[in-house]
Symmetry: C2
């Protein structure tokens, strides 16, 4: 926490069974049915899943290439009023699925708005240390002690160890801790010993640099392939880190119904509608992950996917000419 610019004491940190459990515990502790939760739209589908068990009313706020749009957030806050939202959930760095990063100016504005309209900020930061370009933007938590910050070792060491944490004010953590007892008693002490050993006794920062180098070249391969192959009707984000590019196609393309065709061609992606609480918005969008495959495979995958999309566009043009739309 100190390395990324946040000061907190040991009793302001609670270890969780991965950051996913942190999302569940925060939702379980704070959400009553009908409570308004603000998120980026699109947002992490695991967060939507975690929240949905407690039946909130999730309001997604669009982002642009500078992160969540504070003007649209403010409009929404004016509509729902002071105290009307329970918390705002954001992934400010290399957002999942958007790939965008919230600029410092907006982070500051977000804190002002949280005070003005009285809601908590939940800052989820799984990808913060996987930056390939640009400079580190300090966490929202570093700007305001009240923030609930979620960390994880999944992307900088190993996901299978299920070790994450919540850094939050003591008064908030004591509530969450009680809820955790009823949920799984405690995390795996064995995994925690392994994690401690890794971050104490191994050259983990060097290892992390090899991860960063690997992902960097994959990100570059994907952006280059998108430029080379994707149709001019498509647009996409240009992430400075993380795992994901968010691509948007013309609104008559349904990426869910296109998926089987892509699979047929040997490519997969995540259809955009899963990242919205209504399951309808974003249906012409897709999340493209560049973390797993080699640059060569990524280029070939984007080439094939572009052909699948081009087919759809052709079909649409044919319908249009036939006057069928």
């Amino acid at each position: 926490m100190r390395e990324i610019g946040v000061r907190c004491k040991p009793d302001e940190v609670l270890i969780t069974t991965g950051a996913q459990e942190a999302l569940d515990l925060i939702a379980k502790t704070f959400i009553n049915p009908g409570d308004i939760i603000l998120t980026e739209g699109p947002t992490y589908l695991g967060a939507l899943q975690a929240f949905s068990a407690y039946e909130p009313d999730v309001h997604p706020i669009p982002f642009d290439d500078k992160g969540m749009r504070m003007d649209l957030l403010e409009e929404e806050l004016k509509r729902i009023g002071k105290g009307g939202a329970k918390f705002l959930y954001t992934i400010p760095n290399f957002q999942n699925p958007g790939g965008v990063t919230m600029v410092l100016e907006r982070r500051k504005r977000l804190i002002e708005l949280s005070h003005e309209y009285d809601f908590m900020i939940v800052e989820d930061d799984p990808y913060g240390r996987l930056r390939y370009d640009g400079g580190h933007v300090i966490p929202i938590k570093a700007l305001s002690d009240d923030v609930l910050y979620l960390g994880t070792i999944s992307k900088i060491f190993a996901p299978g160890l299920r070790t994450g944490w919540i850094a939050a004010p003591k008064s908030v953590l004591s509530k969450i801790n009680l809820v955790k007892q009823g949920t799984d008693l405690c995390g795996s002490s064995f995994d925690q010993v392994v994690v401690e050993h890794y971050f104490t006794d191994t050259p983990w920062e060097k290892t992390l640099q090899t991860f960063v180098k690997t992902y960097h070249s994959r990100r570059d391969a994907m952006l280059a392939a998108l430029d080379e192959f994707f149709p001019k009707e498509a647009s996409w984000t240009h992430p400075e880190g993380g795992f994901f590019v968010w691509a948007t196609l013309p609104d008559y393309v349904d990426t869910s119904s296109m998926l089987p065709v892509a699979l047929e061609a040997g490519v997969t992606y995540t259809p955009g509608d899963g990242f919205f609480p209504d399951g309808v918005s974003g249906k012409n969008s897709m999340r493209l992950a560049f973390c797993y495959e080699s640059p060569e495979h990524i280029r070939e995958a984007i080439r094939r996917l572009a052909l699948v999309i081009e087919d759809r566009l052709e079909l649409y043009r044919a319908f249009l000419e036939a006057g069928a739309l």
Copy 2:
């Protein structure tokens, strides 16, 4: 599972982050606010905690030295009617906190009642392999495939690995599995590798026998000390295994308010009211754990605790003589 008499296939087992998570997931999947849940009374307080987050109406059923009383359960079922209870939660072996074991005849009767009155059975069996006297009683799950059986390695290997499981029909597990994804994505694969290694490549049954031998002598020490020191007004259970004895004092003794006095004397126990959903019943009872201390310490602890209790009884007698009660 096969060793304890249950046949189930791999896809009828879901690994959980300890059996505590299993309790949370079952509650999260099945309980709607106001649903009636049946339990032994007293029952495991971690189960009450896990359930309470989903706001059920918990009805505790008393036990005697043969386990949950089926006559009282049937009376309760008649009151609430067919389909009126969502599930019944039981710890049939060496119950926590009761120490009692449900006899085979009652296990069979319980299954009949579950069919007649249409409720699920959740069988929690953390202590089943820690038997010091008497013969193995086959699990309820072995008598009926519909049962949700909860296992854990916490008491036969190590609690810190947070590895438990639910054995249940596939149709039930697929619902719980979906809920688990939103709760913590998955368990620690690292811990699971360690657990697999332990049960495949080490003489774990021999190690278990040393656990059993150790706990056996501690159980014996506690029962002997209770016989030797506890006042004749007290009664207690005689567990054939597990970790706990449940002691009941005259109903004018409040074990919660007595606890600070016992702590002063260097002894601790768990007051009985925590094991009831109303937090009031069982206030003259206490859970005594014999799993942790040496036989010598157990004897001395029971001796001191008996003195604390005797003081309370004296006080009562004095009040009574003074006509103040």
